[in-house]
Structure formats: C-alpha cells, structure tokens
C-alpha cells in the first residue's frame, strides 16, 4: 500500500490500487468509535454521453440517469431493499449524486463488517426492472418538485445556465419529470456496466482499523470483474465566454437571494489543481470574507446581514467562482464587489491580510481531520477530481505567494467572466 503521512496533523492515508482497478483508501483513526465508508463511482450528472467501452457505440442518455441509478441501486432481486437492511443494523446509510460522482456510504459505531457485506453486495449487484423503474419515477418526481420549491437550488441552476452554454453542469442533477420518463432498465444497465466498473471507482474508509486487515476484508468481498478500458466521455464543446450575463426568477422567499459567478478556464494540469483551489479561496476571503473591508461596509450599509458563501467549484467540465448571499439589493452588492476588486487590482494585496487568511485556511484544514465523515468525503471528492494526495492542501498552502494570488485576481475576476443569478421574492 502507498503510505502518505502528515506529521503536522498526525494522520496517515493508506492507498492501494487493486488489480481490477479499484482504488482503496484507508485512513486509520485510533480511539474513535465511529466508522465511515464511502464507495463512489466517477459517474455524475454531467456524464450523459459516452462510448460503451470496447465498442464504437456512442450512448446518449436522458438527464437524471446517474441520480436515478443511485436510487435504484438499493433494490435487490430478493425483494429486500439494502437501505432497510443497513438501517436495521443501526447503520446510518445514505447515498448522493453530484455533477461528477455518485456515492454510497454508511456511518456506524457497530456492525461495520455486516454493513460492509451489504454495501459491497448491493453495489456489485444491479437489479432493474420495468416495475421498479416506474415506481421510482413517482418518488423522484416528488423529489424534483421539492427542489422546485428550493430557492437556493433554483438560483444555482440558473447561475450554471448563465455561465455555461453547453457544459452539462447546467443540467439539473435529478433531470426533469419529462426526461426521467424516458429511463428504461436497459439504459440503467448500460450505464452500470460502463461506469460501475472497479477501474472507475474509489472506496474510502475512515475509522479505527488496521489497514492491511481491512484491505483483506474488502478484497474478500469483491466480485471478479475484469477491468474496463478507460471510459471515453463525450462532453460538448464549451466556449470560453459566459453564456448570459444574468438570470432572474421569482419565488416565495423573504429577501432576494443571489449568486455572482466568474467563469474560469479548466485546469488540465492535475498537479496545479490544489494550488489553484487554495489560491482562489485565499483571494475570495481577502476580497469578501468576514474580516474584509468590503463585508464590513456592506454590513453597515444594510446590504448584507450575514457573511457571503465563497466557493471555487471545479471538475473536468467546469471551473468557476460562486459568491452566494442574500440582500435587499443584489445588483448593488455586485457593483460594490467589482469596485473592491478594481481597488485591490490597483493597490495590491497587503501581506498582513494574506498571512491572516492563510492562518484561517490552515486552521480549517487541520480541523477537517477531526471528523471521520469530513475526512472520507473530502478524499472521495479529491480522488474523483484527480487529486492524488489530500495532504497537499495542508502542505502547499504556505507556499502560495502574493504574486500568484494577484495573478488569479487579474485573470479570473474580470467583468467579462462575470454573471449574476437572482431569486426575487414574489411580493416585490
């Protein structure tokens, strides 16, 4: 196993790439009773066009398949739902789908190996029929309707539609009631056979384990499956420019909600990803974090009542900054933000501020290693994005120079890259 250690935070990761291609990562946590396991596949809502491995056949699938598949995985041929079996053991089991991966997980204090049996069983045994697909269409239909009432989700999807013309991140993860009506068992099996191949998956466990012993237990439960050749994913061409400057919709909320986005170019060099991610986080905190001059002024002027969410999201098919908040006047916030950005471009970044933000970031990275779920989840996210060593975040942040952050400011936070998505109260 490849062993990576962080002396600084006192944690170690053990990684093994199995013969069938599955990547297993184990993070031992002595003295903690909780255990957390996630099994994830690099298959998300953006993967709706691909070549069936070993053939020339191009498959295009309806929106919402990855999420639909996630729901259906729990159903077993025996009729027993694997989610119930796990919960009956007292395991806190769940699953989720994002733009670039689907994950199956559970957290427990007891019965880990029984849970592992069930998890590895249902993930390796798909069972889709016409009946169970139809039933799920009803349940997912309601989930979609629930998200129709969610202002944050609507604001986000609109922001993606502004940023991107063709990139599949602009597709709703769950699809629409119309698109999911086209899903058939055949489609689900095609996707399963393509993407749920071990070579496309990662398994992460965090808890009080002996890594070699746990690895043995995992291997015991693996079905012999041959490794697929690399999956050819077909993504549409995406222009560099943003698609639309702004989008607004009305919903029943109390105060306007907004997301200001800046489109960035996709970083193809995986080694640079961590550096860029940290650089962007530092930059955003400097400009608009809770300790910033901008936030202070916006708060005193009544334009903001609580801190902004500052994110940099990135994957193979998208990269953007997203600044989220609520305000009685989102356009004013947008204008003041740009003013502040221009000011810093002229006056430069103060070293004091840079060091202060670095400390803040470092503290959050350290404390992330407190929780088995935070550890497991961030390792899965990192691996799917091609980041091989999660400790890179802890190790490289100190070497981010002022000039680097300043370059990001000048290259990414520019007017032509900017969009805004607003959700306005119906009563206004």
């Amino acid at each position: 196993m490849i062993i990576e250690k962080s002396e600084r935070v006192g944690e170690t990761t053990y990684t093994e790439k199995l013969e069938n291609g599955l990547e297993v990562v184990i993070v031992p946590k002595k003295g903690i009773r909780k255990k957390y396991i996630i099994c994830a596949t690099h298959f998300g809502s953006v993967d709706n066009k691909f070549v069936i491995p070993g053939t020339d056949v191009v498959r295009e699938i309806p929106d919402g398949v990855a999420h639909f598949l996630e729901h259906k995985m729990f159903e077993q041929e025996s009729g027993v739902d694997a989610l119930y079996s796990m919960m009956a053991l007292g395991l806190n089991a769940n699953a989720y789908t994002t733009s670039d991966h689907t994950a199956y997980l559970f957290e427990c204090t007891d019965h880990f190996y029984e849970g592992l049996d069930i998890l590895m069983d249902y993930v390796q045994h798909p069972y889709f029929t016409k009946e169970n697909v139809e039933k799920e269409q009803g349940i997912i239909g309601q989930e979609i309707t629930m998200y129709d009432d969610d202002p944050i989700w609507q604001c986000y999807i609109n922001a993606m539609k502004c940023l991107y013309k063709n990139a599949p991140i602009r597709i709703d993860t769950a699809g629409t009631i119309e698109t999911i009506s086209h899903i058939t068992p055949e489609i689900l099996y095609d996707c399963y056979n393509t993407f749920y191949n071990p070579s496309n998956m990662v398994l992460v466990v965090c808890g009080d384990f002996e890594p070699e012993d746990l690895l043995k237990e995992i291997k015991k439960r693996l079905l012999p499956v041959s490794r697929n050749p690399e999956i050819k994913r077909i993504y549409p061409e995406e222009p560099k420019e943003i698609h639309e400057k702004e989008k607004e919709c009305k919903m029943e909320i109390s105060m306007p909600l907004f997301m200001i986005g800046f489109k960035d170019s996709i970083e193809n060099n995986k080694e640079e990803l961590v550096k860029k991610h940290i650089g962007m986080k530092i930059l955003l905190e400097l400009i608009a974090g809770e300790g910033s001059t901008l936030y202070k002024e916006l708060y005193e002027d009544g334009l903001l009542l609580s801190p902004l969410d500052l994110d940099y999201e990135f994957s193979d098919t998208y990269a953007h900054v997203l600044i989220t908040g609520q305000s009685t006047n989102p356009k004013k916030v947008e204008a003041r933000l740009m003013q502040e950005i221009e000011r810093i471009k002229k006056e430069g970044i103060e070293l004091d501020n840079l060091e202060r933000i670095k400390r803040k970031l470092y503290g959050s990275y350290v404390c992330d290693y407190e929780s088995v779920s935070d550890i497991a989840r961030s390792i899965v996210t990192d691996r799917i994005k091609g980041i091989k060593n999660s400790f890179d975040y802890l190790n490289c942040f100190r070497y981010i120079k002022r000039e680097y952050v300043f370059d990001l400011l000048n290259n990414v936070l520019v007017e032509k890259n900017k969009i805004i998505s607003i959700v306005t109260p119906k009563t206004l």
């Binding site: 935070v9 903690i32 007292g90 309707t145 629930m146 809770e290 005193e300 400390r359 970031l361 290693y369």
Partner: protein, 422 residues
C-alpha cells in the same frame, strides 16, 4: 464523560476531557424560563452582542482576530429548549499543538478572552448598548422573522408547534414578534440583558484536550466570572403538566408552493410516561428506512418523498412530517393515521423493534466522536436533570419489551394536523 464543578449557586463548569479532536471548544449557556414578554429581546440579544464588545468593539475587529487565531469560530445563538430560553456563546479553536508559527500567543486563552468579553462585557455607553448596533440589528431581526418562510419544511414544523401550543410557553415564536420591536431601544435592551444575566442559570462547557490546562483555576480567576453572583432557580427542568383540548385541530395555511407539507402533532398528556419507551414507539413509527411511515407512506404508496417523525422528549411530543403532492392530502392523512394505529395496536414485529432500538443506540455511541456533541448532550442532561448515564440508557433500550412500548404510547393522541399548501 464529563466532570462537573460548582462555581456559584446555579453557575457550573463542566469539562469533557478528550484528546480525540484537533480543536478546543468552549460554550457558555445562559438559561431562563421562556416568557412571551421577553422573547423578542432575547432573540435580539445575540445579534447585538456579536456586533462588538468593550475590548473588541466591532465585527471587523472580531473577525480579523478570529482569522489570526487560525480560523477560530464564534457563534452566538438563541434557542428554545422545552419551556426555557437559552442563549449560547460558543467558540471552537484549533488546538495550540498544531500552530505552525513560533508565535507566543496561546490560541485557547485568546479565544476565551474574546468569547467572555463578548458574553459579559458588551459595548456599552451611558448604561445602554450602542444605539447604532441596536437599531441595525432590530432591522436584521425583522428580516430574520420574514425569512422563516424560506424553508418550507422547517416553517411547517414551527407553525404546527406554535398552533398546538398556542398561549403556552412552548408555542412562542422563536424569532420573536414584530410588534415588540418598536418598543425596544438600546436602554431597554441593556436592562433586559442585565436582568437576564443576573437571573439565568449559567453553564460553562469545555471540550478538548485540557490535560495540561487547569480549567478550574482559569475559570475561578476569571474577572468576569468573579463578578457573577449566586442566583435562584429561574428555569424549568421538569415536564409541565399541560392539558389540551380533546378534539383534534386542523390548520391549513396557503402559500405559493409546489409541494405540500404535512405536520401532525401527537401528545402524551401523561407526563409520567416513560421517555425511553416513548422514543422507541416514535422510532418504530417514523425513524429510519424501516419505520412505518417510511415503508408505508413513502415506499409502498409512493405518496411522499420524505415521511418520518421526531420525538421532543421534554414535551412528550411526537411530530409526524411528510412532503406530499397537494392533491394527495386526504389520502396521506388517512394513511398516516393508519400507521399510528398500527403502533398503538402493537402491530409491529420483533424485527421492527430491533431496528428501532438500533436507531436510538447508534447516535448515543457516536456522541463522543464529534466535537461539540458531547457538550451539547451533557448540557441537555444538566438542564433537565437527567441522571441516567449513557450506558444505563443503552441498556434500558436494549431490554425494552413490546408491552413497555405499548404502555408508553397508548395515551398518545393526535392533537393537531397542520398542512402547508398552495
């Protein structure tokens, strides 16, 4: 494991010593019986106090200081716990052993200094809070009151409780009342703050690695703590004997929504009913994928995307919640009632009981593994005078029999059906 020590009458310190975490946590809980007259002021206090203290007079100064303390956090919140109003001041700071600079500062001591100054030494002028802060935060609170409707699920829960407990302490609106705001100014609010501080129960919680820190000494020598006086008991630790009307009430509220939210409140008016058995009944009814509500309302009938129930122990209250298509309202209510009847009649298997037990035991076992959980858990025990240890609780759950569960649940009645629709 928590070590408790008395500082003054109704002022205590509690230490959860553990080296499992990378951070240290300090919480100050101020607890007083809920009163309709004070609720809005109490909801406003955290907002004003976090704007600035005597030594750290602005938000910007506080934020910058926290950044320098390696991203320590300060959180000040107001909440209702049964019939009590609780203001909590909390800081979580990275443990000093992970510092990368060879700086002399002690993160823990600085974080405490900041937290205590905010809690006990607010920014004050001529015996009143800073006018600007109070006026600004009143505006803020108004907006928070309006924002209740943003999350339909939590809004429906709150509304059901408010209607079910109308006129009673538990039914007050947590965010306060708009009509009260006009009467509040920087002087009246400061008077309220002083009165609250003089009469509330105070609990200090410390969670983290304090093996090399003498907490008792630090607290007893703290200047703010020294100024605090003994106080009488002004909070409610027992269950209140409340009576409800016999007949069920139905409330329908209309809003522009695509999905309907049902919340049904069930109460067991017998305050002697056993909590553990009642919580098991609730688990069988609606906790987890093996529960009646999840299985029969969500899965088999496909009537709801979410369907479950929660138990508010101190109020003997069970809240059933379901997200449904609006047109299926009557069907869903009927089906939910059937599930409640099934539990009442004892129509559940040994497997269902076993599953319910596991759902209750698992979180108890995990409490020590996440920073803050144990402190919060112990505070709840402290407030409601729960002497039972975690181990005894787990044993009681494991040994529970069907008859115990039925006996605890039998007097539970539906009292309120609330529906949020278009």
């Amino acid at each position: 494991m928590v070590e408790t020590f008395t500082i003054k009458k109704n002022i205590k310190g509690h230490i959860v010593q553990t080296d499992k975490f990378k951070s240290k946590l300090v919480s100050i809980y101020l607890t007083k019986t809920t009163s309709r007259e004070e609720i809005t002021q109490n909801a406003l206090l955290p907002l004003v106090l976090k704007r600035g203290s005597t030594k750290y007079p602005s938000q910007e100064i506080i934020s910058k200081k926290l950044d320098l303390l390696y991203g320590a956090s300060i959180d000040i919140s107001f909440d209702i716990m049964a019939d009590n109003s609780v203001i909590r001041f909390q800081t979580i700071a990275m443990d000093d052993k992970y510092k990368y600079d060879d700086t002399n500062e002690n993160i823990f001591e600085e974080a405490i200094d900041l937290l205590f100054d905010i809690a006990f030494n607010p920014k004050v002028e001529d015996n009143h809070f800073w006018d600007e802060y109070v006026e600004k935060e009143k505006d803020n609170l108004r907006k928070i009151m309006d924002a209740r409707i943003d999350d339909k699920r939590s809004y429906s829960m709150e509304r059901c409780i408010e209607e079910l407990y109308k006129g009673k302490k538990y039914g007050v609106i947590r965010a306060g009342y708009k009509e009260d705001l006009e009467k509040i100014n920087s002087k009246t609010l400061y008077d309220q703050y002083k009165e609250f501080l003089e009469n509330c129960k105070i609990d200090f919680y410390f969670s983290g690695d304090f093996a090399n820190t003498d907490i008792k000494k630090i607290i007893s020598e703290n200047n703010y703590v020294k100024k605090l006086a003994d106080r009488d008991k002004n909070y409610i630790s027992e269950k209140i004997d409340e009576s409800f009307e016999d007949e069920e009430k139905r409330i329908i509220e209309k809003m522009d929504v695509a999905q309907g939210n049902i919340v049904i409140g069930l109460v067991n008016e017998n305050i002697e009913a056993d909590d553990i058995y009642l919580s098991l009944a609730n688990a069988i009814l609606g906790v987890g994928a093996n529960s009646k509500l999840f299985q029969n309302v969500r899965e088999k009938a496909s009537l709801a995307y979410y369907a479950g129930s929660s138990f508010v122990q101190q109020k003997n209250l069970i809240l059933v919640r379901a997200g449904i298509e609006i047109k299926n309202y009557e069907k869903a209510v009927k089906l939910i009632r059937e599930q409640i009847e099934l539990v009442k009649q004892g129509d559940f298997t040994d497997e269902e009981i076993a599953s319910a037990k596991k759902m209750l035991i698992a979180p108890l076992l995990g409490i020590e593994d996440e920073q803050g959980l144990e402190a919060a858990y112990e505070f709840r025990n402290e407030l409601f005078n729960v002497k039972m240890t975690k181990e005894d609780k787990i044993k009681k759950i494991q040994d529970a029999k069907k008859e115990d569960i039925l006996k605890a649940f039998e007097e539970t009645q539906v009292k309120m059906i609330y529906f949020l629709r278009n």
